[in-house]
């Protein structure tokens, strides 16, 4: 049973959560609890708040990822102690455990560690004693190396507590993994946009992983992938209601053709680069992707045409992208000699970097400007479906629905499980509503 930040945010919510645990014990189960840090962004003990304590020391001094992990772990440690104490106040013996104590062994990638192994002996020992183990989500411990006796505390990255719950569930061969949150299951759309968005009664691991991949904040794909791999039923339920929630099962257990939901994600900037010849475009494209990869820039909606290529990047990475690309000089060789030199300019206005490069290169022959056009404030709206998208006419319905709302489609992409459209951020909510209506998702699910 995993309880997210809002489920453990207040004494009242913790009591509701703890009663669900006690109820499970009374029904004859031996629950193992995983909790997130208390509250969400901006709240005193939330993960982001703890991180800001570190960054606020001096924003100009980089922090060590190792220390970051130590700092972030405090949130979950406090949360497990308080939750265990809440269980005790209801008469249920319980013990708080760190991720490492619960046997979650990870690799050594601080900030985004992967679980290598789960050694749940101490968890089982507590269960056998009739205690409820309350385990810190989002964290683990790396194995010792480089002569150190003990390993390091690590954190699992985005969606880490869900991943902890799935991994422990798999290691303990749990009957089910229950993820408790503040909504009563996985919805067909964000209920703050589509008020009547129904809760899905059942869906597959692939559907939930994809809906999360495309932006729904329900369950991290890693958690779904582990549950799928180990064949454990997964539930998404509300801490605050007695609704049955969403059951997540395999494709075999829930076949059929259906639209699952509509999501939106990310604050993105779309970059479009035109080059006069296809051969030269290849050279520039290759160089740009290499630099984006080396500098760990995330790309979305990668697209290429004969004389142009384009992609979106997260808005927060735009300064880095500008720093990499603006004023970049790309020589193009022909027959072993440089035949042309391109100077990259990001945006319509010439920056100081570009002007300086232009002056320096002026004696070296012809310089061609390679302009990067920016479309700022975009987001991706996606339709998620199961065995549905390979039918004739799906894209037409998406295009028509968005046309009806006069919503500009900047770019599209699709896969077996989703159709995505890049739209202006200001139109995202309308786009979600229009697609939700077009595919009649408000009915009984």
């Amino acid at each position: 049973m995993k309880f997210g930040g809002t489920s453990v945010a207040t004494p009242e919510s913790r009591l509701l959560a703890a009663r669900k645990v006690v109820d499970a014990v009374e029904r004859g189960y031996a629950p193992v609890v995983v909790v997130s840090a208390i509250g969400r962004k901006g709240e005193p003990y939330a993960t982001d708040t703890l991180l800001s304590l570190l960054t606020d020391v001096d924003p100009l001094v980089d922090y060590d990822l190792r220390e970051m992990d130590l700092m972030l772990c405090c949130g979950e440690i406090m949360s497990t102690c308080i939750f265990a104490q809440t269980l005790k106040s209801l008469g249920q013996p319980a013990s708080a455990m760190t991720g490492g104590q619960a046997g979650l062994i990870t690799d050594d990638a601080h900030g985004n560690a992967r679980i290598i192994e789960v050694r749940p002996h101490d968890v089982l020992r507590l269960v056998e004693k009739g205690r409820v183990p309350v385990v810190c989500g989002f964290q683990g411990r790396s194995d010792s190396k480089d002569g150190a006796v003990y390993g390091e505390i690590t954190t699992l990255g985005r969606g880490g507590s869900d991943t902890t719950a799935s991994a422990l569930g798999a290691a303990l061969k749990a009957e089910s993994i229950e993820i408790y949150t503040d909504v009563d299951g996985v919805k067909t759309a964000d209920p703050s946009i589509v008020e009547n968005a129904p809760t899905l009664g059942k869906m597959t691991y692939n559907e939930v992983a994809e809906i999360a991949h495309q932006g729904a904040k329900v369950l991290h794909p890693r958690a779904a992938q582990i549950a799928l791999k180990y064949g454990i039923p997964l539930w998404v339920k509300s801490t605050f209601t007695e609704e049955v929630g969403t059951e997540i099962v395999s494709d075999k257990e829930f076949p059929g053709r259906r639209v699952t939901g509509v999501t939106h994600t990310g604050k993105l900037v779309y970059l479009h680069i035109e080059v006069s010849s296809e051969a030269e475009k290849r050279v520039i494209e290759h160089q740009v992707y290499r630099l984006m990869a080396d500098n760990k820039v995330n790309l979305f909606m990668v697209n290429t045409h004969e004389n142009s290529f384009s992609f979106a990047v997260p808005r927060k990475q735009l300064p880095k992208v500008k720093e990499i690309l603006d004023g970049l000089v790309i020589p193009v060789a022909e027959g072993g000699r440089v035949s042309k030199t391109f100077l990259v300019q990001v945006g319509r206005a010439k920056s100081m970097e570009t002007t300086a490069q232009e002056q320096m290169l002026s004696g070296l022959g012809p310089i061609e400007k390679c302009q990067v056009d920016l479309t700022e404030n975009c987001t991706i709206v996606s339709l998620i479906a199961h065995e549905f998208l390979q039918q004739p006419g799906i894209f037409r319905r998406v295009v028509e629905a968005l046309n009806r709302g006069a919503i500009k489609m900047i770019q599209t992409s699709d896969s077996l499980l989703s159709v995505s459209v890049l739209v202006p951020e200001s139109d995202a909510e309308r786009a979600v509503s229009l697609l939700h209506a077009e595919f009649e998702l408000s009915g009984e699910r």
């Binding site: 992983a209 794909p221 790309l299 990668v302 004739p392 894209f395 489609m409 599209t412």
Partner: protein
Amino acid sequence: MQSQTTFETMRGISAVDAQKGFSLIVVRGLGDDRERLSEALETVKVAGLSADFLKLGKAQFSFLVKEEDQQPAVDALTAAGFEASHHRSKAVIKVSSPNVRDESGLMARICEIVLASGATIYNVGDMHDCVQVVVQSEKSEATCEALRGHMV
């Protein structure tokens, strides 16, 4: 170098395979009129075809069909007054790479490797456990090999 995992799916590229036998259909002369795009997609639908890997461009769009469907697609679009052409021998490379959006720079690295292998990228799509890249068939094996060279 980060160590890798066996409990969770490995980060990075964990498998690569290619499926050949696709054609790229390009429809030009649409202007900026999204109604025309919608009409063209209706034509594709009436022809009983699914427009996969749809990509918008300046006054044009393209999509992928199975090779056996390329002529019916072009015929239907031409009959409906659209300027359509087909470009055969395309392959879809499936690069298994879970949670690509959490692995900063991985999508760019995949594109870089594909281009370095000599292939042209026609389209890229991603889902929670893989990235799909459309390239020319004759380059697909070399591209797969290049990508496998970066497998974890």
